[in-house]
């Protein structure tokens, strides 16, 4: 294995001091001269015809600069299936539908103006469960599609289907079978920084928008399209991404509030900022999709899986976001987590009058792994095999091609399972009489990009200055996860400079090269791959120029050195002859000849060399650009086939829990997480990712649910939407990273951003089952559900 200078060493994050000191600028901090504050009037009904919107009182309120509705502003259509509008004209389809918006000189006036807007509705029957909405003859939520063609049902027109092997043969071969129906709730991403943007037009009608986005370049495309809808043809959007207080998938789409800010800014000719309050974020922003998964698996006498059959129904809500592509990720564990010869997978998304959903960390994988890994334990139980042994029997292997056509390069799943079993003392039963139990669950996830768009690429520009500094321009979004830290390390390592000399510039579509978006755990994988490519190009160029300039400068060094050290005899080494590009090296910002004697005058500071290159006739400055598109393929999701990522990440998590059978409370005693990360880039940053993910996973397992009644969110605040805090994370967490040194991975690394929360819920659920023999199939596993199930069990036994 290669010896790295910076990779794998504990390095502090370049963005940390400013963030800790409150100096980083988030959307919330941004101010522009003449800026107005925008606010949105949301619907009072989940499904209704809009009869009349009266904005007259709001317009008359002093301090209000604009009031817009669909009736007095251009129609802006958006969304993954273009089924959504910035402002609704005829109908509302969910409580959070945007009906009107105001821009005012301060936020209080904007809020007051919103309260003055009165809307008359004609209520329509609402559909709040996908099963109800799927029924023939149900009222239509969308009467037409985005092309204006009539629709006949509430199914979202997207196909996700996979069939491989011989399912009926697999069923016949099964000695044991287990079936279960599992469901997951809508949960909120709970970013520390709420959603918001600031939109401003220049006098040429070009737009600048500061946005909380994970897809600045796709957003640029979306916003440019909106500009043409507004009659501003051929005008451009510049997207700037300031410091972000978390993303977790919320930035994978463009949102109505952004289009509304654009409309208000255009109407008023002033910069307009819209920032959601926490309540608005909960009630009027898209959470994770909720789904139900019916899964059946079978295995033979030997414990080998013979088939897997999966039907997913997903509640899309009223409109369609990128989150509607969750099943493309669900397919991955469905077909490829553990070796299974025949698989049937089908997913159906359904429109309802619930809040529409969007992406969240894991993107369908936690939902599916919840069902799959719970059911694995059920099947192990049927077969009388220990759940750990059962997983080992069916464990994935390096170099295999899975039923979906995933080409696995490295696979550390076996080591992950073994590590968890060892650290959790798996074969030792938990203490008797205390209702304690252990459980585990594993995962597969994309670890080498994830192609769900026609390009999965990322670019990088590196610009060197006279002082040996490296200025980087990259399209990946730092949203708190530490991307800038790994990019800094990657550049420092690959180029051979100290990390302090690397500066990552703010993300701006007008200066940074294109990147599809910071999703699919691809940030570090892509960024470091571009860093290696760019560094290699620069090194070639530096070494080429050194052939002429290195001897010249070293000569001067030597003269000075002799003056200072009279009598010094230089070693017998012909550095003029040795100055050949292939013999140079650059390390820690210093250039030298690899096989030269280590004399103080016989190496050059990079800045010195760059100045020599710059300040001469026909001088030059060095900069380079690269564009990296990983070797993976856009799958055919209707056929369920294609190598979506260039490498795959694996992991196993285990938990030991204690259940209070009188109150239903679950106490986690300890957790172990073993993840195949390819290679650890920055240890504390990686640990932070996994600790944070575990907390989110535990929230998903035990506490979190955006409750709603007839489409209305009932707990739109942290008082009643409970996430774990430090006090819930009061148990030891044992992390272990398996380094498989993947050949596609930069420095051997795979993506690790999402995996940490994928198997957490089933690991905990399996531990609860081990403790008390109760299997809860709908998340979250609240204390009430446990108590109710215990009571039922007791009644059945009595």
């Amino acid at each position: 294995m290669k010896n790295f200078r910076y990779i794998g060493k504990e390095t502090s994050r370049p963005d940390a001091p400013d963030k800790a000191a409150g100096k980083a600028h988030y959307i919330h901090d941004l101010q522009r001269p003449g800026m107005l504050y925008g606010k949105i009037k949301f619907s009072d009904h989940p499904h209704a015809r809009i009869k009349h919107i009266d904005t007259s009182k709001a317009e008359r309120l002093s301090g209000v600069r604009a009031v817009i509705t669909a009736n007095n502003s251009p129609e802006v259509r958006f969304g993954f299936l273009r089924d959504n509008f910035a402002l609704k004209k005829d109908k509302v389809r969910q409580y959070r539908d945007e009906l009107a918006a105001v821009a005012a000189i301060d936020p209080d006036i904007a809020e007051e103006a919103i309260e003055l807007i009165k809307v008359e509705y004609e209520p329509l029957p609402g559909l709040f469960s996908p099963h109800e909405a799927m029924k023939k003859g149900s009222p239509l939520i969308h009467e037409t599609d985005s092309q204006g063609r009539p629709r006949t049902d509430n199914l979202v027109p997207l196909q996700y289907h996979h069939e491989s092997g011989n399912l009926s043969a697999g069923k016949r071969a099964a000695k044991y079978m287990a079936q279960g129906e599992f469901s997951t709730p809508r949960v909120q991403q709970c970013c520390m920084g709420t959603a918001g943007c600031l939109a401003e037009f220049d006098m040429n009608s070009n737009l600048t928008i500061w946005a909380k986005t994970q897809i600045p370049f796709l957003a640029q495309r979306d916003f440019n399209r909106a500009l043409s809808d507004m009659g501003l043809n051929d005008k451009n959007t510049r997207v700037i991404v300031p410091a972000l207080g978390g993303g977790f998938g919320t930035g994978l789409d463009t949102h109505a509030y952004e289009y509304i800010a654009i409309l208000l800014a255009f109407q008023t000719g002033r910069p307009v900022k819209i920032v959601y309050t926490r309540d608005e974020e909960f009630a009027y922003f898209s959470p994770r999709q909720s789904s139900t998964t019916k899964i059946t698996q079978g295995c033979g006498q030997d414990g080998k899986l013979t088939f897997r059959e999966v039907e997913v129904v997903q509640d899309n809500g009223a409109y369609t976001s990128w989150g509607a592509t969750y099943p493309s990720v669900m397919m991955m564990p469905a077909t490829s987590l553990y070796r299974v010869p025949s698989v049937y997978f089908n997913a159906q998304l359904v429109y309802t009058n619930n809040t529409y959903c969007q992406a969240m960390r894991g993107y369908g994988n936690p939902e599916h792994t919840w069902a799959l890994e719970s059911n694995m334990d059920e099947l192990a139980g049927e077969a009388g095999i220990d759940p750990y042994d059962f997983r080992m029997i069916n464990c994935n292997k390096p170099k295999e091609t899975t039923p979906m056509g995933l080409k696995v390069s490295t696979c550390g799943l076996k080591e992950c399972l073994q590590t968890v079993a060892k650290k959790l003392d798996w074969k030792k039963k938990s203490k008797k009489g205390k209702c304690r139990g252990k459980g585990m669950a594993s995962l597969i996830h994309v670890g080498g990009g994830g192609r769900i768009y026609r390009s999965d690429a990322s670019g990088l520009i590196l610009k060197l200055d006279d002082f040996g500094n490296v200025n980087a321009y990259h399209g990946g979004v730092e949203m708190g996860q530490g991307l800038h830290s790994v990019l800094t390390l990657g550049i420092a390592e690959a180029l051979g400079v100290r990390p302090e000399k690397v500066f990552i510039n703010p993300l701006d579509t007008s200066t940074c090269p294109w990147d599809v978006g910071t999703h699919a755990s691809r940030g570090a994988f892509m960024a470091c791959n571009t860093a290696i490519l760019a560094a290699n190009k620069l090194r070639d160029r530096i070494f080429e120029l050194s052939e002429e300039l290195f001897p010249q400068e070293v000569e001067k060094n030597l003269e000075k050195f002799i003056k200072k050290n009279p009598g010094y005899k230089p070693p017998d080494f012909d550095f003029i002859k040795a100055a050949k590009r292939e013999r140079f090296d650059l390390k820690d910002g210093s250039i030298f000849i690899k096989d030269a004697p280590r004399e103080p005058w016989l190496s050059l500071d990079l800045g010195r060399l760059l100045r020599a290159i710059h300040f001469r006739t026909q001088g030059q400055m060095l900069a380079t650009e690269v564009f990296y598109d990983p070797p993976n393929e856009l799958p055919d999701f209707a056929k369920g086939f294609g190598n979506i990522s260039s490498t795959y990440a694996y992991g196993t998590q285990g938990a030991e829990v204690e259940v209070d059978t009188e109150t239903g409370e679950v106490k986690i005693l300890r957790m172990v997480a073993a993840h195949d990360v390819g290679k650890v880039l920055n240890p504390p940053a990686l640990k932070g990712q996994i600790y944070g993910a575990l907390a989110q996973g535990i929230g998903y397992a035990l506490y979190e649910e955006l409750q709603s009644e007839k489409g209305k969110i009932l707990n739109p605040n942290f008082r009643d939407y409970k996430i774990p805090t430090a006090q819930e994370m009061d148990f030891p967490v044992d992390l272990e990273f398996i380094e498989t040194n993947d050949s596609f991975g930069p420095f051997g690394a795979k993506g690790v951003a999402e995996p940490g929360l994928v198997p957490t819920a089933p690991a905990i659920a399996n531990a609860i089952y081990d403790a008390i023999g109760i299997r809860i199939r709908d998340l979250p596993i609240t204390q009430e559900k446990i108590l109710a199930a215990l009571k039922k069990l007791k009644e059945a036994n009595d």
Partner: protein
Amino acid sequence: MRRFDYFRPKSLKEALELKKTIAGAKFISGGTDLIVQIKNRELKPSALISLRFIPELATIEINGGARIGALVTISDILQHPELGHNYPVLTEAAKSLGSVQIRNVATIGGNLCNCSPCADMALPLLVLEAKVRLQSAKASREVPISKFFKGPGESCLASNEILTDILLNPPHNKAKATFLKKGRVKVDLAIASLALLLEMEGGICRKARIAAGSVAPIPLRLSKVETLLEGAAVSEDLVSKAQHLARETVSPITDVRATEKYRRQIVGVYVKRGLEKILGQSLA
């Protein structure tokens, strides 16, 4: 948020004077309940009169019993050595209220005057049979805490009165008390909570005081359960009866936090666990 005026009177007299002259004014102590209500537009006060700058309201006095000023923060209570020693149940409840940040500003008076059925500090005060002192421009009166609460957000406090002190009887050396609270997570409003005080003599319960939170329109004394226990020997059978009676006595509601059924269940379990904790034995 709506605009309002803000006043910082330096004396009780000045505060009461201001309240009388400004229609629609509210007193504010730590603001951890009030500001939330204003932001949620449940309240639209014209002015806020802060009680934080009236020195005598923020003191604790140990005088055989104790006098706790209404503006004493929950953190103050936790840091006071004698108070915790004499009335450990008060500390137990204080520890469970909110987070450190909240405890640093939330006051005991605010907790009572907000009159939430889940008010954590109400329960130990109910079982300690505390009194509250209410002051108007003209007069001062003392009210037993069990008579203070009238309903959610309602108390016997008149609009021209300030709660100034909480008065505690000297601690009884045979009495032991404990506090139990159930939330969905650790930092949470109670789904159900219970304080229990017991005086035992030769295996016989001489005195029992039980109060439960979040299971009725007010923080509730469970007098029937108290009567059942008093004068009896605490046996498993009695505990099971007490549990049952506690579940029957309360009248909880179902909301986003918990169902009515679950709250009843927890109150029952807590009666048992409270007794177990005090008696130091298992009563299952």
